[in-house]
């Protein structure tokens, strides 16, 4: 059987965009906003490509659940070095549990030895899909990975935890989610973008996978965050220290 890695990616608002909450509180304004591959998913993909480049995998399949527009991000992933793409079409956002169910169906079809995802998407900041997928699949999870070492049938994954670093050994197949320090994704060059246009991209419907999307959480409203009070300017280091002492932030 082909040694295959599946990488899950999400189309999100680019991290450089300053988002705006709609005045009616119904959500975040997304019209005409620059969209990108979720940065943590890009790191997951980079890792998959490097594993393949080291000869430890034969194929990297990138998968995304989303509207037709997310094919642009899948093409970017193909240009980075993924071999083929799976687009599961959904015009409405799917909750992480539904996304995990969809990914599980793709896993059953593709039989990967490793599934890589970003640790969280920078839009909803849920950070759930990888762990939920691992639970539904009844397989190991290693979240917040900063290092992955593959051996026969196993992986040693170093995780970024609050206390420092933790290393787990997991049997494969397993789900690993990427943290920031895992690698630095490569830049895509123009010839690769051209080449990516000829790589296979298959579109599937959620229904064809036998999944009925469930929306459990109801969004009541979306508010902008509380504004910070206007600050003060000081003239020099001595005034700065005096201001900090006045706020009780330095012992006087």
């Amino acid at each position: 059987m082909m040694k295959r890695i599946i990488v899950g990616i999400k189309r999100v608002v680019d991290y450089n965009v300053r988002i705006r909450v709609k005045p009616d509180g119904s959500g975040v304004a997304l019209d005409g906003v620059k969209m990108s591959v979720n940065p943590f998913d890009e790191i997951a993909l980079e890792e998959a490509i490097r594993i393949k480049e080291r000869g430890l995998a034969e194929e990297v399949v990138v998968a995304s659940v989303g509207p037709t527009d997310c094919q642009a991000q899948l093409r970017t992933c193909l240009a980075m070095g993924a071999d083929r793409a799976l687009h599961v079409h959904s015009d409405t956002p799917t909750e992480p549990l539904t996304t995990a169910r969809i990914l599980l169906k793709l896993i059953e079809r593709e039989q990967p030895f490793l599934v890589l995802l970003g640790k969280q998407a920078i839009d909803d900041d849920n950070g759930q899909t990888g762990q939920m997928l691992a639970a539904l699949w009844a397989r190991p999870q290693a979240t917040f990975a900063s290092k992955i070492v593959l051996a026969e049938g196993k992986a040693q994954v170093t995780r970024e935890v609050d206390a420092g670093l933790e290393t787990l050994e997991v049997d494969l197949p397993a789900v690993v989610t990427a943290d920031l320090r895992l690698n630095e994704p490569r830049y895509v060059k123009l010839p690769e973008i051209m080449k990516a246009k000829r790589k296979p991209l298959e579109t599937l419907s959620v229904e064809s996978l036998g999944i009925t999307p469930r929306v459990q959480l109801r969004t009541v409203r979306v508010d902008p965050p509380p504004q910070r009070q206007k600050g003060m300017l000081v003239e020099n280091a001595a005034e700065l220290i005096a201001a900090l002492k006045a706020k009780g932030l330095l012992a006087s």
Binding site: V28, D125, Q128, Q141, T143, R159, E169, T219, V220, G231
Partner: protein, 313 residues
């Protein structure tokens, strides 16, 4: 209707983590909550005693199994899922422990998770940050579903002590899987406070110009008992290591005092510090966006100002 809330305790085998007391404080804001803390450990006695003292805790359950000597989500999640039936809510801290574990529990319970709860509006309605805190969404969990959530610990005070809840040991309801094994852990090798939890953070940006200049920040940080952070630009330029990166794609922090030195204030950086209590900005460009969020701004040459501050401390 009253709420029966199960809180998954975070601990290191001997000490209950501070995040658990904050989960209890969050749970206590749910009307008519009856709070149970669950401790999965190889030897739960010491941690259970600490949990039993938290104000507002009605009961402490312990599940002891050798595999729980280390906090493996794959091992803990089936225990919690098997014990969850009588509870309306299952909460854990929004630490790496809780972020790793809770979605696995939610999936086993076939329910959605509410991540990073920052306020409780009703027993089923919660506020949580999205877009790295640039928007706050209010979500509601339907009546027929269990509420599974992580509690944003920076949003709640710690529950007080002085309580005396009863402690009950229950036999492990599930046999943990053997597919995930703990190998090792290493605490960050720094004598400085941890960037994620430090009360004071000194951060440097591209204007530092070199890794050598960054040493100036370390000296200042040591004088203040502060952690050191860096902007993405400084990390990309190689002035500071990756793990110091503060921002949307790095660490999102909420210190009492954040001092941004030579940081212009790109959006992705600002989203990582917006919960800081007081932000100080030192930058030579008075138009830098960092001044829009700074509580105290100082326009000037950092290479003159930083040594002056150091001398004055």
């Amino acid at each position: 209707m009253s709420a029966a809330i199960l809180i998954v305790a975070e601990h290191d085998g001997s000490t209950l983590a501070a995040g658990t007391a904050k989960c209890v404080a969050c749970a206590a804001t749910v009307a008519q909550a009856e709070i149970t803390v669950l401790v999965c450990a190889s030897d739960a006695a010491a941690v259970a005693r600490q949990a039993a003292q938290l104000q507002g805790v009605h009961r402490v359950l312990t599940v002891e199994h050798p595999v729980h000597a280390h906090p493996l989500a794959a091992a803990i999640a089936p225990q919690i899922a098997a014990l969850a039936a009588p509870y309306t809510h299952v909460f854990g801290p929004s630490s790496t422990f809780g972020k790793d574990l809770m979605p696995r529990i939610a999936a086993l319970l076939e329910t959605a998770q509410v991540s990073d709860i920052m306020a409780v509006e009703s027993p089923r309605r919660f506020r949580r940050p999205i877009y790295a805190g640039n928007a706050i969404v209010t979500v509601e969990v339907p009546e027929d579903a269990k509420v599974v959530g992580t509690v944003r610990t920076a949003s709640f005070p710690a529950a007080g002590t002085g309580g005396s809840a009863r402690i009950e040991n229950v036999a492990p309801p599930a046999e943990p899987p053997a597919h995930t094994r703990f190998v090792s852990s290493s605490a960050a090798k720094s004598d400085r406070p941890d960037l994620q939890t430090a009360a004071r953070v000194i951060s440097g940006g591209r204007a530092l110009g070199s890794a050598e200049a960054f040493q100036m920040l370390y000296r200042l940080a040591d004088k203040l008992g502060a952690a050191v952070g860096a902007s993405r630009a400084a990390v990309d330029a190689g002035y500071a290591p990756n793990e110091l990166q503060v921002g949307q794609t790095g660490k999102i922090i909420a210190p009492e005092l954040y001092v941004a030195i030579g940081i212009s204030g790109a959006i992705q950086h600002l989203t990582g510090i917006k919960d800081a209590r007081t932000i100080v900005a030192i930058n030579k460009d008075p138009q830098a966006p960092i001044f829009e969020v700074a509580d105290i701004g100082l326009v000037g040459n950092l290479f003159e100002i930083v040594p002056q501050i150091e001398k004055l401390l």
